[in-house]
Symmetry: C2
Subunit: 485 residues, 2 copies
């Protein structure tokens, strides 16, 4: 059984062979930090989080690089319009780099909340201007780029492979897209490597071509080379940025390196729609990660995202998320009962029966994940493990601690380390709240008993002392409820 990855470049599943035995270099396009990240970002980065976690599970030493775009990403994703950061900064009346600090922080806080492991290196575009200028110079020297009015463009006609990732031929691109006429370009499909800056442009640097700023695409080529080398293993991103962004990255890097392969495997995540519609700020249908987290456990959000293969599209709706949460609760109830039973289980090794169940589960799980990181199939294996665990817990026999521990170890490794949907602590990271609820419920029952026994003093005392602790009891037709005041 070996790991297979669907390589967008070849449109086939290929066996994974790293550049260097035992190591994986992976670059994933990061966010442009000018606004709150939304649930579509969650889909993409949770998807690659599981990729990285599984590669580590397999024993690879992974170097995960994910950039932060803080300059050069223009409003229309092509080479025209204002810089997204600069535009938003002006609206919020702050400096561009203040805006970047704010949204970069929110991005990482959201990712942390979703149990997404931090990349090993998060290089910022504005912090790598020399590296980008250097690559642009190389491209000019090799005849793949030209200067024009203080800007520099990549000459697509010099690189016949341009289009090989998206399969879009230059001629088709021009028919399909509404390309604005830019007098600086020799050919409408040429794209900016460096843009000259208006004097009022805040984000600008000195370059051999005058004051300006790097084009959006070249940051990824330059930073991937700096931290991962000319050729590395996996390049990830979202399908929405396959063209022009990823296409331009390949052209830049491979043209600069005389055709040496940029990334061996291209993995692109499917997009996310909201109630069937593409998220769009102008339509007002966006859902931020913070909003999603306010009503749901992070594990449930991950479960929802992982219920679909990373490269498939997914439609987000409240119902779909609720249903993922129900599924998660079922899984968690089993794990949590299992961990309680471990506490009181008699000493003893795992039986060979349990060991073979676990062995089979691990095999099934790896088979699922080895098939291009098939997370929904892997979750199905975890559900199978839960079913078998329930059977064992409810068979009326006594089971050794070793047996129960072996089952829990599988949950921890596969559901915890790899998918990060099973918390490692026995109370699901939420023990205190659950306990508090239990304590209040117990006191409510004792008060009900006291009232039945007409022990009004005891009943009043419970009500009053709870009130003192900030817990207000509300007696209604269907019994007593409570709220924290």
């Amino acid at each position: 059984m070996s790991l297979k990855i669907y390589n967008v470049l070849t449109r086939t599943k290929e066996e994974f062979k790293p550049v260097e035995e035992g190591r994986v270099g992976i670059y994933v396009c990061g966010p442009t930090v000018y606004d709150h990240p939304h649930i579509g970002h969650a889909k993409n980065y949770v998807g690659f989080d599981v990729v990285v976690r599984y590669l580590r599970y397999l024993g690879y030493k992974v170097l995960y690089v994910q950039n932060i775009t803080d300059v050069g990403h223009l409003v229309d994703d092509r080479d025209e319009g204002e810089d997204k950061i600069q535009k938003r900064a002006r609206r919020e009346r702050v400096l561009p780099m203040q805006l970047v600090e704010t949204y970069m922080r929110i991005f990482f806080e959201n990712m942390d909340a979703l149990n997404v492991l931090r990349p090993d290196i998060s290089p910022r575009a504005a912090g790598h201007v020399p590296e980008q200028i250097e690559m642009v110079q190389e491209l000019i020297e090799k005849g793949h780029a030209y200067q024009s009015n203080g800007s520099v463009y990549f000459d697509v006609s010099s690189w016949p492979e341009y289009g090989k990732l998206s399969g879009r031929k230059v001629a088709e691109q021009e028919e399909g897209a509404r390309l604005e006429i830019n007098e600086e370009k020799r050919h409408p499909s040429d794209f900016a490597l460096w843009k000259n800056a208006d004097p009022e442009h805040i984000l600008q640097w000195k370059s051999p071509w005058g004051m300006g700023f790097p084009g959006w695409h070249v940051e990824c080529s330059a930073m991937a080379r700096k931290y991962l080398g000319k050729t590395f293993d996996i390049h990830g991103g979202g399908i929405d940025n396959m063209f022009p962004h990823n296409e331009c990255e390949i052209a830049q890097s491979e043209a600069a390196h005389d055709g040496e392969t940029f990334a061996n495997y291209w993995m692109l995540g499917g997009s996310l729609t909201l109630d069937g519609v593409k998220m769009s700020k102008s339509l007002g249908n966006t859902l931020t990660i913070s909003d999603a987290l306010s009503g749901h456990r992070p594990e449930a959000i991950r479960m929802f995202i992982l219920s679909s293969k990373y490269r498939n599209p997914i439609d987000f709706s409240d119902d779909a998320l609720d249903s993922a949460e129900t599924g998660w609760n079922r899984l968690w109830n089993t794990v949590s009962e299992l961990r309680k039973r471990i506490q009181s289980a008699p000493d003893g090794e795992a039986t060979s029966e349990v060991e073979s169940i676990v062995q089979q589960i691990i095999e099934d799980f790896e088979q699922a994940m080895n098939d291009d990181f098939n997370a929904p199939a892997a979750i199905a294996v975890l559900r199978d493990l839960a079913t078998q665990t329930n059977k064992i817990l409810n068979d009326g026999k006594s089971h050794s601690r070793g047996s129960l521990q072996a089952l829990d170890n599988a949950f921890r490794s596969l559901g915890g380390d790899v998918l990060a949907i099973i918390p490692s602590d026995s109370d699901g990271g939420n023990g205190s709240a659950a306990r508090e609820e239990g304590l209040i419920q117990l006191l409510i029952e004792m008060r009900a008993n006291a009232r039945e026994n007409k022990d009004w003093a005891a009943s009043d005392r419970i009500r009053d002392e709870l009130k003192e602790l900030g817990v207000q009891l509300l007696d209604g037709a269907n019994g007593t409820t409570w709220q924290i005041s």
Copy 2:
């Protein structure tokens, strides 16, 4: 009453006049992120946090810039030895920028935990190489720096003001310090602006002088100029870095700008000793912020730090921190009782008596803080407010919600917004834990009652249901205690 700042440059308290009416630009030297931050970092950054918070309280629009040193800081703080980041990265077998990500993250997490507001911009040295090269070029052009063997040094003999911050004349510096002989330098006091890099040096960039990396001092000059302009209001740092670091910054910036003032006010924080001894890793007496936080509330740590003026030295000991925590508990008990009473207070405006108490407190507080941010005096004013609040709460009279609210507003504004030692929520950010404790205590008392009444069924039920919730009761000679199992 106007704000006065002790300006290290003039060794006098001066009235604060910002460059631009209503705005303050402040630059504080940030950490070199190669290890866990220690309690000495906490002293420095809590100190400047209160400075920034108070300036904002006064209505200034503050732009707070604090750098991250991720390249160029050599082991001996002078111009010799290995880069601190590179050395540690080699030891941990990671890339320098991986190490930087890790410790930068820990630094900010520690600062967040201490209620230290994030700087508006946290620029990184390695992300501002072009800006540093540009300044070095200017210094060469103006005759204040020279190239030597691929490195560039600042020529101290060209800048007679060198030494004006620390008061150390060049001749004295050489007598006092053990300066290593560096053949590249014309004069032993000259300092590096750019260092040529050995081929095996990982952190290096192209420059007009060959491959190399910026000297430690020039990052602050270049980044302060980029984000705050040539002349800005306040430069902060720790007294330990006055020489050579701050001294070199002034020389670089003012020489590059033909003598234009760099920062108008220099504020340097006193150092911290641990049980009377300078913290030192070789002595093994360092205390990380995480360790300090594990046994104490962040507010208590702030209270300890702020019990001394920012520019005074302070000695840390467990006793001193415990005593600060006791003081904090006293203050907090008052605030917490006050907030409870507000809940049940009758409607009504604040009395003129309470209003005048609050007015006086605000005046006293501002007077303390206007005197070079005298935090210990400001805390004494809060204690005074607590005393007067206790008197009012215990005078046996009924007080209107408006009166009690006015007192709480003063605690929130002065103790919360400015000093950040008074939590804004009524339960001190710890309500759930306190409530849980209260609920368990109530159940223990009910069980004791049941046992007195020989109602063994009720007593057992409480014990068993608590056990079910993970709360184990332990009956002892001095009554019943409990633990979470």
